[in-house]
Subunit: 187 residues, 2 copies
């Protein structure tokens, strides 16, 4: 069955966005630094990017999707995109056939797994990651650890309320511009 895999770029001090995030400043101040490895990925960094693009569906929150312009309605290869949201999409985000807004986490995960078939589900965004972790619906975590201290911003792992969670280190890839750490969540 499809595994749900969280893909995030994180600073060594645990931030996935800088401060002052907004719809127009989706990564926060200085947050684009966390994605620079991605923009010019070569060699091992490129392999990690390419692997993420073999996923069969996307599950993300509205707070990730909308500031990113909804990825133009196509994250990659026209795969199905499921957006967790208590609200209906604004008109500009409701126009794409591959995009489905859903309010219920379990339904969203089930539909994302179904859509992915034998491939994995790419999970993205802090809120969705935290909700999936809490509900025991996240299978793996792929962190691209960027050699920088941002000092402030939004943390990936905060207010988890899950207690102690053991991980299994599946793989460590040292790229030119980031260290790619892959973990499986032990249950």
């Amino acid at each position: 069955m499809a595994a749900t895999v969280l893909y995030m770029s994180m600073s060594l001090d645990g931030f996935v966005a800088g401060p002052n995030e907004s719809l127009e400043n989706g990564l926060g101040d200085g947050g684009e630094r966390l994605h620079s490895w991605f923009s010019n990925a070569e060699g091992p960094d490129r392999e990690v990017v390419d692997e993420s693009l073999t996923t069969g569906s996307v599950l993300a929150g509205r707070g990730t999707f909308e500031p990113a312009g909804g990825w133009g309605g196509d994250h990659h290869d026209g795969i199905a995109i499921f957006i967790l949201s208590r609200h209906r999409p604004a008109p500009e985000f409701a126009q794409w056939p591959n995009v489905t807004y859903l309010g219920d986490l379990e339904e969203a995960v089930r539909r994302a797994r179904d859509a992915a078939g034998s491939r994995n589900v790419l999970v993205h965004g802090v809120g969705t990651a935290q909700r999936c972790l809490r509900a025991g619906l996240l299978d793996e975590i792929q962190i691209s650890l960027v050699p920088v201290l941002l000092g402030e911003g939004r943390r990936l792992f905060e207010h988890l309320g899950v207690g102690h969670v053991e991980l299994e280190t599946v793989r460590v890839i040292q790229g030119r511009d980031a260290t790619h750490l892959r973990y499986r969540i032990r249950r």
Copy 2:
């Protein structure tokens, strides 16, 4: 000249101790999980431990030193130990010839470097790390990243107040029980 190198074991979610730290519970609840790789280190994990024991002096805070029983007055090989503290040591920590309590950060770093000679200075503890980082007195960071989410506790990188700090990844060693990441601080 001797480099100041911070050695810390940290969970993937950024904690170096569990909650409820006290003199009797120095690592906090569940914090000993962060040190299990160290207790039975073999292979690459062992190499990282052995390397840390080639340092020529120790610089730590009172909050690290005293709950650890002052390492019995000898961290390793009888090297000089400098403890940052605004207070004089309690009698049980004032008995060792290698241990010096100092109130001034710059003096402590200078004396630790002098004592280390051509070797490095082992820096340890959250408060001392943060103060050295802020003052531009930390040269390298060696994080042993432990595959666990603790959920709560004391973070290593918090309230830094240093803004954006670029790091250079010097080395990544995958051990059996931790991933050892070494960074040089760019200035």
